[in-house]
């Protein structure tokens, strides 16, 4: 019988559940907001000091989604979107939070079209988690140049 955290357990045993849906929403988000292409990849990023953010899924399931991107990619997307080069780290952080918010809402809307869900306000964080709880890690290559990471986890800590 499925548990309360269906999002994370329903495809238990798969290496990356919901990968096709996540790919669809990441593509749409980067295309419409960043004017960039994205493709899933098995490459592991080695970005130092990345920009990272987290959003909590509060109901009807519990979990967290993390997003991480290399610093320079964050600045590039923000410059594309704002049409300005003289941005601050605060603006770039705001943009990363909005990207994560958009990806998370779109993902849950696709996975749970008939259920209302509630999310926290996204916030910047120091790092994305490793493998605690039930954790799934996805990488996407942006414009064949940089790799972002998205982590779905049911770990509440």
């Amino acid at each position: 019988m499925p548990g309360e955290n269906d999002l994370f357990f329903i495809e238990h045993g798969q290496k990356r559940p919901h990968e096709a849906t996540l790919t669809k929403v990441v593509r749409a988000t980067f295309e419409k907001m960043g004017f960039m292409e994205s493709e899933p990849t098995d490459e592991n990023p080695v970005a130092l000091n990345p920009l990272a953010a987290v959003i909590e899924i509060l109901s009807p399931i519990r979990g967290k989604i993390f997003f991480s991107a290399p610093q320079h990619l964050g600045w590039t997307i923000a410059e594309n979107l704002y049409g300005l080069e003289d941005l601050t780290l605060e603006v770039v952080g705001d943009m990363i939070s909005e990207l994560l918010n958009t990806i998370t809402g779109s993902l849950l809307s696709e996975l749970m079209p008939d259920q209302q869900f509630n999310l926290s306000i996204p916030r910047l964080c120091a790092a994305i988690p490793g493998g605690q709880g039930k954790t799934f890690i996805y990488h996407f290559n942006i414009d064949n140049n940089d790799i972002i990471t998205i982590v779905l986890t049911d770990n509440d800590s």
């Binding site: 749409a28 988000t29 419409k32 907001m33 923000a78 979107l81 704002y82 049409g83 603006v91 705001d94 943009m95 939070s97 909005e98 918010n101 958009t102 990806i103 998370t104 809402g105 779109s106 849950l108 809307s109 749970m112 079209p113 008939d114 259920q115 209302q116 869900f117 509630n118 999310l119 306000i121």
Partner: protein, 132 residues
């Protein structure tokens, strides 16, 4: 035309404003609010012609803002377009029943927002941009 954009992130407000400018509303006066309470204050001071609001915001969310506006006889005529990544089918139905003009999921493109707002962009003969 005065358009109020309500979103807690600067990025979303800038993005929405760019899309609106791209569909022919570049001459509009854009006002911004960072959450529902901020928006209500600005709306009561000087009501806009159109409101775009996010849903998930601190202080007051977009759903509560919509409720407040629809319960206010002086303000319930203002069209409210909800733009949110949390707007799935279930929530869209609820928001439309509450009186939202439409509900547009994020991320949206210029074409998608044009399709929702074109009724305001193509005035009928003998009427102003709002069909009045």
């Amino acid at each position: 035309m005065r358009i109020l954009i309500v979103d807690d992130t600067t990025t979303a407000r800038v993005f929405a404003q760019k899309c609106l400018a791209n569909i022919g509303l570049h001459d509009a006066e854009f006002i911004q609010a960072v959450h529902g309470l901020d928006a209500l204050k600005k709306i009561r001071e000087n009501p806009p012609d159109l409101i775009l609001t996010d849903l998930i915001m601190p202080e007051m969310d977009g759903e509560t803002l919509l409720k407040e506006l629809k319960n206010d006889a002086d303000l319930n005529h203002i069209p409210v377009l909800v733009v949110s990544s949390a707007a799935n089918v279930a929530r869209k139905d609820a928001l439309m029943a509450m009186g939202a003009l439409d509900v547009l999921p994020k991320p949206f493109s210029t074409t998608e927002i044009y399709n929702v707002l074109k009724i305001f962009l193509e005035p009928k003969e003998g009427s102003d941009a709002w069909g009045e």
